[in-house]
C-alpha cells in the first residue's frame, strides 16, 4: 500500500531540504505525470484532444501563471494580461518576419522580452497607486495595446484583415505543425516556464514579492527594494504572458487578430487564477482546467444529451447558466480556489488512514 507519510525521509543536506517536492512519493508522482504527458498522451490522443482541449488548456495555464506571479504572489492587480499576450504574439510574429532565419523559439523569447518591457512601463503607476486604482491603469494598457495593434498596419505586416499567421513551426529540421507536434511544443515550453516559476517564487525575489503583497510599507521598512520588486513582478509576469500569447497565436490557433486578445481574454485569465487559487503554481492548471474544460464538457454533454429535446440556442444558454452556477458554488465552498482544495486533500492523504 502506497503511503504518503514522510517517515524515514530525512534531509541530510541543505539542497535536499530546499527541494520543492520533498517526498519521494511526490517526486515519483510528478515523474509519472510528465511521462504520461510526454509519452502516453501523444500516442493516445486524437486531433480533437490536441487542438481543442490540451493545447488551449496548457496555454491558458501559462497565461494564468503569468498573472498569478503578479497578482497572487506580488499582490499587484492587473486586467492587462491579454494585452501582454498580444504584444508577445505580435512581437514574435514581427521578429520571425523581419529577421531572416530566426528560430521560432528564439522569437517566442524575444516576443516575451518585448512584452516584459511593455509590462514594466504599464507597471510604473503601481509605484504610486494600489488595488482597484491599479486595475484601471492596467485596463488602460489593455485598450491602448489593442488599439495600437489595430490602428497601425505595420504590426500585422499590412495584412488587410489585420490578421497574423503562424510561421512554419520547424525546429532542427523537424516539422512541428501537426497537432501532436504543436502539443509537444506547447507542453515543453509550458513545462520549462512552470519549472522556472517554481524556482522564482522560492527565491529571494519570490519572498520579496510576498512581503510586498502582504504589506509594502513593512517590506520597505525591513529593507526590501519595493520599486525594483514591483517592476520585476510586472516584467516577469508580462514575459510569461507574452510567451503564452505567442503559443496561443502560433501553436494553438495558427492565426490571430488583435481582438483575439481583448478584455474578455484578460477576464478569462483573471478567472483562472481566482478559481484556481491565487499564490499557487498548481492552481493555474486547476483553474485553466475549470475554465477551458468545463464549458467544453457541458457543451459536449448538451450536444449529445439534449439534442432534439431543446432548441440548440437554449441548450447553449443553459450551459452558460450552469457554468455560472458552478463558479459561484465553487467560490462559496472554496474561496481560496481549487488549489486549496487540493492542499486539503493532500493533507488528508498524508495521514491516511488516520483522520485529521
Amino acid at each position: 500500500m502506497l503511503s504518503l507519510t514522510g517517515s524515514g525521509q530525512f534531509s541530510t543536506r541543505y539542497a535536499q531540504d530546499r527541494r520543492i517536492f520533498r517526498l519521494w512519493q511526490a517526486r515519483a508522482g510528478l515523474a509519472v505525470l510528465l511521462a504520461v504527458a510526454y509519452v502516453v498522451v501523444p500516442l493516445w490522443a486524437s486531433d480533437y484532444w490536441f487542438s481543442a482541449i490540451l493545447i488551449p488548456f496548457l496555454v491558458l495555464s501559462l497565461a494564468g501563471l503569468g498573472l498569478n506571479l503578479l497578482t497572487g504572489y506580488a499582490g499587484q492587480l492587473s486586467l492587462g494580461s491579454a494585452a501582454f499576450m498580444a504584444i508577445g504574439a505580435f512581437a514574435a510574429y514581427n521578429f520571425q518576419l523581419r529577421v531572416e532565419g530566426l528560430p521560432f523559439l528564439v522569437s517566442f523569447v524575444l516576443g516575451g522580452l518585448v512584452a516584459a518591457v511593455a509590462g514594466v512601463v504599464s507597471g510604473l503607476p503601481s509605484l504610486r497607486i494600489k488595488g482597484f486604482y491599479l486595475i484601471v491603469s492596467t485596463l488602460a494598457a489593455q485598450f491602448i495595446v489593442e488599439w495600437t495593434l489595430t490602428k497601425f498596419g505595420w504590426f500585422s505586416n499590412f495584412n488587410p484583415s489585420g490578421v497574423i499567421t503562424a510561421p512554419p513551426l520547424v525546429m532542427l529540421g523537424t516539422d512541428l505543425s501537426s497537432p501532436a507536434g504543436r502539443y509537444l511544443l506547447t507542453l515543453s515550453v509550458v513545462t520549462a516556464l512552470f519549472a522556472l516559476a517554481g524556482r522564482i517564487v522560492r527565491s529571494d525575489l519570490g519572498r520579496n514579492w510576498m512581503a510586498v503583497r502582504d504589506m509594502d510599507t513593512a517590506a520597505a521598512v525591513i529593507g526590501i527594494p519595493v520599486v525594483r520588486t514591483k517592476l520585476l513582478a510586472f516584467a516577469i509576469s508580462s514575459f510569461f504572458c507574452g510567451v503564452a500569447g505567442s503559443l496561443w497565436a502560433f501553436a494553438y490557433l495558427g492565426t490571430v487578430e488583435p481582438h483575439g486578445f481583448d478584455l474578455n481574454r484578460s477576464f478569462q485569465v483573471l478567472f483562472i487564477i481566482i478559481i484556481g487559487g491565487m499564490g499557487s503554481i498548481l492552481g493555474n492548471f486547476l483553474g485553466a482546467a475549470f475554465v477551458v474544460l468545463l464549458p467544453l464538457l457541458l457543451s459536449n454533454l448538451g450536444g449529445s444529451l439534449l439534442a432534439g429535446v431543446i432548441a440548440p440556442g437554449d441548450t447553449e444558454n443553459l450551459q452558460k447558466i450552469l457554468f455560472g452556477v458552478l463558479i459561484i458554488v465553487f467560490l462559496i465552498r472554496e474561496p481560496e480556489g481549487l488549489a486549496s482544495l487540493w492542499r486539503g486533500l493532500w493533507a488528508r492523504a498524508r495521514v491516511w488512514p488516520l483522520r485529521d
Binding site: P160, G260, S299, G303, S304, L305
Partner: protein, 445 residues
C-alpha cells in the same frame, strides 16, 4: 471537506461520462454529414439562426422530398461557436471526423475569423471550407487554396460592384472624380478585408475614400458618425454585421446623414439590419445576391414538405423567407449541388471531403438547372473552376421601404478583370509565405 471531495468525485464521473458520449460512435453509414458550426446566441444570433435555419431546412427538404441526394440521406449536427474564433476551432475539430460513420462533406462556419483559423486545418484534413459571400478574397484563386470556396461573391467583387453602382447613380465613372466616400467597417478581419481594394478603386476613379472603424460589436457609433458629418461624404458604404447595422442607421439619422446615401454590403442587407432602426431606415440601400421572399418554388416546397410537417428549424416562423434565411437556402442548394456533381463522378454513396471538393470546383449552375431547382432569381448563374472559386460576382441593389426590401436594380457585375491580378498577386504572396506549390490549373480536369 467531505462535500468538496464528493464533488470532485462527481466531477470526475461527469468528465468520463462526457468523454464517453463524445467519442461513442455508432456506425450508421450510408449518409452524408454536414458539420454545422452554427451560432444561435451572442450579438450575431440573428444572422446565425436565419442562415443555419435555411440551410437545415433545405437539407431537410432534400431528405423528405427526394429521399436524400440520389438516395444518400443528409445528416448534420450543430456546435455553437458564438462567432468566437476559439469556439469555432473547437467545433471544427469536434465535428470534422463525421457523425456515426457518415463522412463530413464541407464546413460552413459563416465567420471570417473562424474561416481564417480553420483554413490551414481544412486543407490538411481535406474538407472544403465554404465561405459564401465572404471570406478571404485571395482564396478565389483555387490553385493556391484548393479547399477554400468564397462562393458567389468575394469581398473585392462586392465593393467593386458597389462602386460600379455608385458610378451608375452619379451618371458615369467620370463623375466619380472628386466625390467623397466613407466606409464604415466592422472592426474584425471581415470588416477590414476590403480596405486595400477600395484604395485602389479610389485612385482609379479619382474619388477619395475614408475608412472608419466601428469596434465590435458596434452598439455605440456617435463619434464615428460625427466624424462622417464633418467629412460630408457623398456616399457611405456600410460594412456592418449584426447589431452594428441598425445602430449605424439610427446614428446616421441622428447626426443628419441621409440614409438613402448609405449603401449596406452583403452582411448589412437583411430585415434584421433595417427593421430595428424603425422609420429612420426608410430609403436605406443595400446589395444582395439572394432576394428575400417566399415565392420561389424551392421555398414553397420547403413550406410544404418541411414547415407544414412541423420539421422547420426556425423558432420564429415569421422569419421564413427573409434575407438570412434565403442565404441559408442558397448555401444549402450550392452544397447539395456540389455533392450531386461529385456523386456523378465518384458514385452514389457518401463522399469524402476531397471528393466533394471536386464537386464544388465543378459547380455549374445555369438557367436550366436553376429552373429545375426552383431557384430562378434566388441564385445567380455560377460556374466554378480550378482557378476561380468564386464563380459569380454579381449583385443587385435593394431599398428598404420601412417594412420590406424592394429590388431597385438589375444585376450589377463586379469588375472582375481588374480584380483578378490583385487576387493572384495576393495568393502568390501567401503561397510563398506558406511554402505552397500552386496547382497547375491548365492540367486539372
Amino acid at each position: 471537506m467531505s462535500v468538496s471531495r464528493l464533488s470532485f468525485r462527481r466531477l470526475a464521473g461527469a468528465v468520463s461520462l462526457g468523454l464517453a458520449l463524445a467519442s461513442g460512435a455508432v456506425h450508421a453509414a450510408g449518409e452524408q454529414y454536414f458539420p454545422l458550426q452554427s451560432y444561435r446566441v451572442g450579438p450575431y444570433a440573428a444572422g446565425g439562426t436565419g442562415f443555419f435555419g435555411g440551410f437545415i431546412d433545405y437539407m431537410q427538404l432534400i431528405n423528405t422530398r427526394d429521399g436524400g441526394v440520389n438516395g444518400v440521406k443528409l445528416t448534420w449536427s450543430e456546435c455553437e461557436t458564438e462567432y468566437v474564433v476559439e469556439k469555432g476551432v473547437e467545433c471544427y475539430e469536434r465535428l470534422k471526423k463525421g457523425l456515426n460513420g457518415a463522412p463530413a462533406a464541407a464546413t460552413n462556419p459563416l465567420s471570417v475569423g473562424i474561416a481564417y483559423a480553420t483554413l490551414d486545418r481544412s486543407t490538411a484534413d481535406r474538407i472544403p471550407l465554404i465561405t459564401i459571400n465572404h471570406g478571404r478574397t485571395d482564396s478565389t484563386d483555387g490553385s493556391v487554396f484548393p479547399y477554400v470556396f468564397p462562393l458567389q461573391l468575394n469581398p473585392y467583387s462586392e465593393v467593386s460592384a458597389i462602386v460600379n453602382y455608385v458610378g451608375q447613380r452619379e451618371g458615369g465613372f467620370e463623375k466619380l472624380k472628386g466625390k467623397k466616400i466613407v466606409t464604415l467597417y466592422h472592426g474584425s478581419p471581415y470588416g477590414k478585408e476590403t480596405i486595400p481594394i477600395l484604395d485602389i478603386l479610389a485612385k482609379k476613379y479619382g474619388f477619395t475614400v475614408t475608412h472608419i472603424e466601428v469596434p465590435h460589436p458596434g452598439t455605440e457609433q456617435q463619434s464615428q458618425w460625427l466624424n462622417i458629418r464633418r467629412i460630408k461624404p457623398d456616399w457611405v458604404i456600410l460594412r456592418g454585421w449584426g447589431v452594428m447595422n441598425p445602430v449605424a442607421l439610427k446614428t446616421a439619422a441622428k447626426t443628419g446623414f441621409p440614409v438613402d446615401h448609405v449603401i449596406g454590403n452583403i452582411w448589412s442587407n437583411s430585415e434584421d439590419d433595417a427593421a430595428p432602426a424603425g422609420d429612420v431606415a426608410k430609403g436605406y440601400i443595400s446589395i444582395t445576391t439572394h432576394p428575400a421572399g417566399t415565392d420561389f418554388p424551392v421555398l414553397k416546397d420547403i413550406e410544404k414538405h418541411v414547415l407544414k410537417a412541423g420539421k422547420g428549424n426556425l423558432q420564429d416562423p415569421k422569419r421564413f423567407g427573409n434575407v438570412y434565411y434565403n442565404l441559408g437556402v442558397v448555401n444549402g442548394i450550392l452544397n447539395v449541388e456540389a455533392v450531386r456533381i461529385a456523386q456523378a463522378k465518384f458514385g452514389k454513396r457518401p463522399l469524402t471531403g476531397e471528393e466533394v471538393r471536386w464537386g464544388f470546383e465543378h459547380l455549374n449552375i445555369d438557367n436550366k438547372r436553376l429552373q429545375e431547382l426552383g431557384a430562378v432569381g434566388l441564385v445567380q448563374n455560377l460556374k466554378l473552376s480550378c482557378a476561380d472559386h468564386e464563380g459569380g460576382g454579381a449583385v443587385r441593389f435593394q431599398q428598404w421601404d420601412g417594412a420590406h426590401w424592394k429590388v431597385i436594380s438589375d444585376w450589377v457585375q463586379a469588375d472582375r478583370a481588374l480584380l483578378r491580378p490583385i487576387i493572384e498577386k495576393s495568393a502568390a504572396a501567401y503561397a510563398k509565405e506558406k511554402g505552397i506549390t500552386p496547382r497547375n490549373c491548365a492540367k486539372e480536369s
